[in-house]
């Protein structure tokens, strides 16, 4: 069992995402620590990528800001290492496959372990293609966190059975971004997944308000918030620490 299970050990998990290096690596470090202190149970660090095809405009812009500010893969590893030295909240990366492939799967997973990163969420690595990375990741104790979408009909059972870390249930079609309304029957979707696996199920894509968190927390093991956090950082720049603390606390409170 990996570190990730700690995030789900004590009630419903609040999973907080930011893009590493947006606006700077030093700011990301402060924000990750602040969010953990404010109640985030798991921290998801996005490795900026030139062409993030699963992201909406908010996180796309964060990727561009981070890359323009000079963030690179080794810089993000160093960020993770520094955060891990300060807090024991589990860390995962969200990354597209090419930076991992280019770094070399073996070397990348080894660096993850050294820096305290417990899992990888890779939006362009679907279940069928995981075989080339999963055994290497497992050897280093890294979970490949798999996604299940509203369009995964007929595939959920197999994906859920082989899931490690947690299952990332995608709430809606399309790309990441704040949604006022989620039309998927999430309770049923999460219920179907939970029939297949004891691995925790967290819901992301479009989640942003405490009301949504409370509603989803009633049937899922956690919620994942990305775009809302990134938009706070986009608005506040270097001064986002206080509003991030307040926001994370409000979400964690709604889940309790």
């Amino acid at each position: 069992m990996s570190d990730i299970s700690k995030a789900f050990a004590d009630g419903k998990a609040f999973i907080a995402f930011l893009t590493g290096g947006d606006p700077t690596l030093a700011a990301s470090e402060r924000y990750l620590v602040a969010m953990a202190e404010a109640g985030a149970d798991l921290l998801e660090i996005g490795i900026p990528f030139s062409d993030p095809i699963a992201e909406g405009p908010v996180i796309q812009a964060a990727n561009i800001r981070a890359l323009s500010a000079g963030a690179n893969v080794d810089g993000i590893f160093e960020l993770a290492r520094r955060v891990h030295a300060k807090i024991d909240t589990p860390l995962v990366f969200l990354t597209y496959l090419n930076p991992v492939f280019h770094y070399g799967y073996e070397r990348f997973c080894e660096r993850c372990r050294e820096c305290g990163v417990s899992g990888l969420i890779i939006p362009d690595l679907p279940y069928e293609e995981q075989g080339e990375l999963k055994p290497i990741a497992a050897k280093h104790g890294i979970d490949i966190i798999t996604l299940i979408a509203p369009t995964s009909e007929g595939r959920e059972a197999q994906i859920a059975k082989d899931a490690t870390g947690f299952v990332y249930a995608v709430s809606s079609l399309g790309v990441t971004g704040v949604r006022s309304e989620i039309t998927t029957d999430l309770a049923r979707m999460v219920g179907d997944i939970k029939k297949q696996t004891d691995t925790p199920v967290a819901v992301g894509f479009g989640v942003h308000s405490p009301e949504q968190a409370a509603e989803i927390g009633a049937f899922a093991d956690g919620v994942i918030v990305g775009s809302k956090i990134v938009s706070i950082i986009a608005e506040q720049g270097e001064d986002a620490e206080v509003p991030l603390r307040e926001y994370v606390a409000s979400m964690k409170n709604a889940l309790s």
Binding site: D51, H102, Y103, G131, S152, R155
Partner: protein
């Protein structure tokens, strides 16, 4: 090169060409990709589907395209007999019509009412809008904002044909970003929509489907040259961006070892500058746009900005089957600069009276370089993938003349 290739055949997805290919796309699209593959496997050998496609290719697109003996060019170069495969004479002015008719018919069979597509120069976008108009499909095209400005006439053409053109303002605002945006759009609306990909790239089954629909080019070359010269060609030459022209031109000859397969990629301002799109010459293995293949990228695996005078070759990757044909040495890939392509564009216009697409001119340019390697009793076929009307203003500007469309 730090990447390693780790393969586990038992858990590997479909659509592999050696180590290349695969289906590296978000989970949201997986069922749709599988449905497309199932539909294609069902209809590709369905007599009714084939009859309808053949009829459209013949009566609507104007196939078979001519295999024209370029006597003056042959004479001038003093090498092999040179033949031009005239895809430029197809309806909509390029080879792109071969693929879109096939994919749009498939969309209809799958019960889709809407198609989306990316486009660079606009040839695929115009072809897709054309097929959509003919087959009563709603159509939206994604085109980099920079390309909508470079190819403003094609934007209006697509609109005339009833398509909605969405200028893409993310990233480098060119073809790569148009593909990103089309994929994002597809993931947000899969039920009634098919993504009609324009090249032999992306996740399986697209590289296979587009290759199959384009392989009509090679089949025709084989039978036409057999009729005219009684033999196989000694070489076939085509330009390579994503690689649909070249794949269509090569496909029937892959198992004929006597036929040289030559792909010409865009060297832009030179492969020693950072302004080119020479993926095979300068790229490295990677995973992007749904496929494992070769890509121009930096030391961190970020996809590199690319450049070519030709919007149709201005792409940082290449189809996975080309990556494999390169890896095995079956096909040769060579870089051709903007300047060489422009000179060839002018050369073909003056020598044969044919204004070809600047993409195709990359192939013409390379043949001018290698003609002397061949004997007079050998036959070399150049695929003229498209006509050059769309490029005239840009070539004039390249030559310092201010021509307004």
């Amino acid at each position: 090169m730090s990447s390693e290739v780790t393969q586990n055949p038992e858990t590997q997805a479909a659509g592999r060409y050696g180590e290349f290919g695969g289906q590296y796309i978000p989970e949201t699209l997986m069922n749709e990709i599988i449905a497309l593959e199932t539909a294609y496997e069902r209809f590709k050998d369905d007599p009714e589907f084939q009859t309808e496609l053949d009829m459209l290719l013949r009566e609507y697109a104007g196939r078979p395209s001519r295999l024209y003996y370029a006597a003056k060019m042959t004479d001038d170069l003093g090498g092999p007999r040179i033949w031009l495969k005239r895809e430029d004479l197809n309806h909509t002015g390029s080879h792109k019509i071969n693929n879109v008719l096939g994919q749009c018919l498939l969309a209809k069979r799958m019960g889709k009412t809407r198609v989306i597509a990316e486009t660079g120069a606009g040839q695929h976008g115009v072809a897709c809008a054309t097929a959509a108009a003919l087959l009563d499909l709603e159509c939206e095209i994604f085109m980099g904002k920079e390309d909508t400005e470079r190819q403003a006439l094609n934007v209006y053409r697509m609109e005339l044909l009833g398509a909605k053109v969405n200028p893409v303002t993310s990233g480098t605002m060119t073809l790569k970003d148009a593909v990103n945006e089309a994929m994002r759009e597809w993931a947000s609306r899969v039920s009634d929509t098919l993504y009609v990909l324009g090249s032999v790239m992306g996740p399986h089954p697209f590289p296979m489907i587009v290759r199959d629909f384009q392989s009509v080019i090679a089949k025709e070359i084989r039978s036409q040259l057999e009729a005219k010269a009684g033999k196989l060609p000694d070489a076939v030459v085509a330009c390579v961006g994503g690689g649909s022209t070249a794949m269509g031109t090569f496909y029937d000859f892959i198992d004929e070892p006597s036929v040289r397969l030559i792909g010409c990629e865009a060297a832009g301002r030179g492969i020693d500058t950072d302004q080119h799109a020479a993926t095979i010459t300068k790229g490295e293995p990677g995973v992007f746009h749904g496929m494992k293949s070769l890509f121009l990228q930096d030391s961190d695996g970020q996809i590199a900005p690319v450049y070519s005078i030709s919007a149709g070759l201005d792409y940082p990757g290449i189809g996975p089957e080309h990556a494999e044909l390169h890896a095995t040495g079956r096909a040769e890939y060579v870089p051709v600069t903007d300047e060489e392509a422009v000179q060839a564009f002018e050369y073909l216009a003056r020598t044969e009276g044919i204004i070809c697409a600047i993409e195709s001119a990359h192939a013409v340019a390379h043949v001018r370089k290698i003609a002397q390697e061949f004997d007079a009793d050998q036959d070399l076929v150049i695929c003229l993938s498209g006509r050059g009307d769309k490029d005239v203003a840009a070539i004039a500007r390249y030559r310092g003349k201010d021509v307004h469309e």
